[in-house]
């Protein structure tokens, strides 16, 4: 391991320690504000009250189930939309980068729809696919698709053209050029696109669940709504924290993937 790398590794536990310290300071400030200004708990509860609620929710149910059930449903919707977006967006982006006619055909359509904020599709999605699963999945798909498609497209466009010549010289056919050469060459950008698509998709999930309202029946966004309607800020804030936590976890996962695929660069 090189010198700067080992130094960076040593610095990381220290950074993490500093971050944890800083986070605790702010949480303490939160608690301090509640206590000092005697804020009512249905407006702003203390951190401990939120934690209590989450712990309670882990074993007791609200609506269709416990915290895990709700988180599970959110994740399920998210993954359905996200995976579909990847399965459609990445090959399409590769194709667009590789074949100008495809790009010329699809690009204007893409630009047209890009201006619609994904969340604006929610009402139509409710109409078409129902409030408990389909609407959220559709909105997530709409949100996650553009970055994945654009990054795959850019990945091909910015690729070293010499690689294509080399592959053709070796006897590669169009399918190999697209998936055997284009895909790996574009991989760093594709993974970056996955990261952005993940953030967009997770955001869209929450919005879609909230807009779906009580009809969603499950989900972390649904819990936020339930908390608000029943003036239980602990539930609302607790669900928000869960959403943030899971979102950060997913992002961390993709970042690890990013590092692994960049290993040979």
């Amino acid at each position: 391991m090189s010198e700067p790398e080992s130094a960076a590794r040593r610095a990381r536990p220290m950074q993490a320690g500093l971050a944890v310290l800083g986070a605790s300071v702010w949480i303490t400030i939160w608690w301090g504000i509640v206590v000092a200004f005697e804020v009512p708990p249905d407006f702003l509860p203390t951190p401990w009250q939120v934690a209590e609620k989450l712990i309670w929710l882990a074993s007791h149910g609200i609506g269709e189930g416990t915290l895990w059930i709700h988180a599970g449903w959110s994740l399920l919707r998210f993954l359905s939309g996200f995976m579909t977006a990847a399965a459609v967006g990445i090959p399409l982006g590769l194709l667009m980068g590789y074949a100008p006619p495809v790009r010329n055909l699809l690009n204007p359509l893409f630009e047209l729809f890009r201006n619609v904020p994904p969340i604006a599709w929610a009402p139509f999605a409710l109409l078409w696919f129902g409030a408990s699963f389909g609407s959220q999945t559709f909105v997530i798909f709409t949100a996650a698709l553009p970055p994945m498609l654009m990054n795959a497209y850019q990945g091909i466009r910015l690729m070293d053209p010499g690689l294509v010549n080399a592959a053709r010289m070796l006897g590669a056919g169009p399918a190999t050029l697209l998936f055997g050469i284009g895909l790996p060459a574009a991989m760093p950008l594709i993974v970056a696109g996955l990261r952005i698509g993940l953030a967009n998709g997770w955001l869209a999930l929450v919005g879609a669940e909230i807009i779906a309202g009580p009809g969603a029946l499950t989900g972390l966004g649904f819990l936020i709504l339930v908390g608000q309607e029943n003036l239980q800020a602990t539930l609302t804030i607790g669900a928000m924290a869960m959403i943030g936590f899971i979102g950060a976890l997913l992002d961390y996962g993709v970042r690890r993937l990013e590092l692994r695929t960049a290993r040979y660069k």
Binding site: R168, M169, G171
Partner: protein, 293 residues
């Protein structure tokens, strides 16, 4: 497809098989190259005039000949190579390899690129193997060829490295191995050592000669280094500036005699008087073509 297959299936036509000691069967005697009045015109962008890159290029290259093309920058050498490899199609005329008109790229017209063009996500072995896999060479034979070429090209011990972990010289070795392992009829080299430092360059030139001698595809080697050309070539084609035409064809063998000097170390050869004279002669031909400013 069955045409070059026969070149791959190694020694299967020889009694006792071909896998002992890797008896390399010389390629079928149809790797001579003919340029028949080739020219290349590029369409102009927007309102610009079209440019004529190559004009009326006609040449016959014998089988297994080592031909070097030199010329000033912009004379179209790389375009010529692209056409010879099937990556570009001439505007008029045609390039013929054996009995085949070259219109598309393929493993029998292997190319070594100036910028290596190795696949960064593949290891050394995977890079070299890739062409073989694409063309359906069975695993046993792939293994055989790799086992033969890896030490020969000096890559033993680097099999699992990634290109970015290798120096320029090593990377180009991988590129050359990738080409040679296909046992091409034609080997095209586009300023392959231009990106290397001077020392590596000399080493690679000598390595190339050694490796080429085993199998002897026809070689078309493009360079703008006169020393390189005079050292390596059977014949040298000197090109004019754009539009590129043949200015003169020089047969180096008239000077070297039966034993070509490329089998001797470069530094020794460079001290020879006849080498210097030939080099001077080629350089004078090119000098007229170099436009200043």
């Amino acid at each position: 497809m069955s045409f070059w297959r026969s070149a791959f299936v190694g020694g299967s036509e020889e009694p006792g098989g071909g896998s002992q000691g890797m008896a390399i069967k010389p390629p079928a005697p149809d790797n001579d190259v003919r340029y028949e009045d080739v020219s290349m015109r590029f369409a102009g962008h927007r309102n610009a005039q079209p440019t004529l890159a190559i004009d009326s290029f006609s040449l016959d290259i014998a089988a297994s000949e080592f031909l070097v093309i030199v010329g000033p920058s912009g004379c179209g050498k790389s375009t010529l190579l692209a056409m010879s490899g099937g990556l570009a199609i001439p505007t008029t005329g045609r390039v013929v390899l054996g009995t085949e008109v070259i219109r598309r790229p393929g493993p029998d017209k292997a190319i070594v690129f100036q910028n290596f063009s190795l696949f960064p996500w593949k290891t050394v072995v995977e890079n070299i193997e890739f062409g073989l896999r694409l063309n359906g060479v069975p695993p046993a034979e792939r293994r055989e060829r790799l086992d033969y070429y890896l030490p020969v090209i000096g890559l033993k011990g680097f099999e699992q490295h990634y290109p970015r972990q290798l120096s320029g010289g090593m990377q180009q070795r991988v590129a050359i191995a990738r080409a040679l392992v296909l046992r091409p009829r034609l080997l095209l080299m586009d300023e392959p050592f231009a990106a290397l430092d001077a020392q590596n360059r000399t080493v690679m030139q000598e390595e190339l000669v050694r490796v080429w001698s085993e199998h002897k595809p026809t070689v078309i080697f493009v360079t703008h280094s006169v020393e390189e050309a005079v050292f390596l070539a059977d014949r040298i084609v000197v090109m004019t500036r754009r539009p590129g035409r043949i200015k003169e064809v020089i047969d180096v063998r008239e000077t070297t005699g039966a034993t070509h000097w490329r089998t001797s170390p470069l530094d020794r050869v460079m001290r020879r008087g006849d080498f210097q004279d030939l080099r001077g002669r080629v350089w004078d031909l090119i000098r007229d073509e170099i436009v200043v400013g």
